[in-house]
Symmetry: C2
Subunit: 256 residues, 2 copies
DNA sequence: CTTGACTCTCCCCTTACGTCAGGGTTTATC
DNA sequence: GATAAACCCTGACGTAAGGGGAGAGTCAAG
């Protein structure tokens, strides 16, 4: 009759000592005996029972149920297996649904990104985009530009439309203030409202540098992209330059 | 600007108040404001963000990761989704393996049961089985017989062989004691050993009535089934009757 | 006699909440 | 103005299946 101490049995069966302690505590696997000092001693029979426990555990049976399977003779094992099977089937079904959803989401995101990218630069000659990028890089550093572009790229089509609408709204209120300085309180109040709207779509409530760079970058985008620089249907360069200055002032004074 | 208290928002989004408390605590969804009394107040923006959280939660993302997705702008969402997809795929694979294993187990058990059933009654005319069942039902009640039959049915082929071997062993020791009374200590000691062996195969460490009935029933089965009632190759009715009486005495005195 | 390997029992930590408990607040009704 | 109902707060415990560690006892070898 061979007897194993906890660590021996644990190694034999490939489980941790803690697990054996737990199983003892739960009454799932009691040691065959204890030494005077209280050390657990397991025999062949316990090794065998442990194998059984691990088998059902592998099948994702909860330990409680394993206890019933192994310890109550009138437990209907076949029925338990059938039940477990249907449980596993519905788990699998659920996973399949999740997989579909994820596939759709990934598609969606990829499409939006591409579309977004197109949309973002469609109305805008490539050279101009490149030039803006160069210029901004000199001013703010390559990292800031990267981050700012990231923000812009993450916009969805609907968000882009909303952006245009915001633009219209603020235009309506700001064209009347073009005689003011871009850093005047009355102008900056409007900018603050605009910023608050924009921020919702950027999906972040944090603050600090990235926000500031992105917002300033957006102001420059308004200048470069004709889709944003129209007022009442016609491009109005002076206005978007004014707007950009106001936004950059806001970014530098309120967002840093 | 509409503001919602916790319960309102909870109902709107179909989550519990506790969940909102938790998300606040984790920094996943902070209320837009607090009243003087400390009540949480949520706005439209928070409702929207909650929807997003729930979306990813549905996809089984851990809350921590959801936080990263929603709060860090340079988090690569597509990459996260791809990763999650492969995780889900391996979960599904694992489930498929489990399902196969379970199917095999069920097959195995059913075959064993059938085989077992055949084996159990093969050497035994149907009428006799029926007669034993009737008699035992009268003596112990229909429930006890059901339970006892259940025990027997759960034996595998290998276990049945072991049962026969046990039978031989005990025969060897008991035939010499047939002149003793079935309830004499010397006989009962042997029976106790026999019972201990049997019990291993019944896979239960419990005690009480079902054990007793089953063991007594097994004694009767020895009488009725010729495969068990042979001694040295020949049927020995007197011996199995003696054995049965000893087992029943044991069951009634030691197992109740 | 000491060192190292082993063991014991408690205890806290993990996820994503459910479920009190004890106490404060708001609102509707009388 | 009082009171009850409904609502809110924080704090803490419990869940499944262990992981990890503290502090203390035990065992075999050198």
């Amino acid at each position: 009759m061979t007897l194993y101490a906890v660590k021996k049995l644990a190694k034999l069966a490939g489980v941790s000592v803690r697990t054996l302690h737990l199983y003892d505590e739960l009454g799932l696997l009691k040691p065959a005996a204890r030494t005077e000092a209280g050390y657990r001693l397991y025999g062949e029979q316990e090794l065998f029972r442990l194998q059984q426990i691990l088998f059902y555990r592998e099948l994702d049976f909860p330990l409680q149920e394993i206890g019933q399977i192994l310890y109550s003779p009138d437990f209907d094992l076949v029925q338990a297996l059938e039940n477990h099977k249907t449980a596993l089937l519905s788990r699998r079904d659920r996973i399949n649904v999740l997989l579909e959803t994820i596939a759709h989401s990934i598609d969606h995101l990829k499409n939006e990104k591409m579309m977004n990218h197109e949309d973002l630069y469609k109305g805008l000659p490539k050279e101009k985009a490149a030039a803006w990028r160069r210029e901004a890089t000199e001013k703010y550093g390559i990292e800031a530009v990267d981050r700012s572009e990231n923000y812009l790229r993450r916009l969805s089509k609907a968000q882009l439309e909303q952006l245009k609408q915001d633009q219209k709204d603020i235009n309506a209120r700001l064209v009347a203030l073009m005689h003011e300085s871009p850093d005047s309180p009355i102008v900056q109040d409007q900018i603050a409202l605009h910023y608050a709207n924009i921020r919702e779509f950027w999906g972040t409530a944090g603050s600090g540098d990235p926000q500031a760079e992105a917002y300033a970058g957006l102001g420059q985008l308004y200048v470069d992209d004709e889709r944003f620089s129209k007022v009442d249907g016609k491009p109005n360069k002076a206005y978007v330059l004014f707007l950009r200055d106001a936004m950059q002032y806001f970014a530098e004074t309120k967002l840093k």
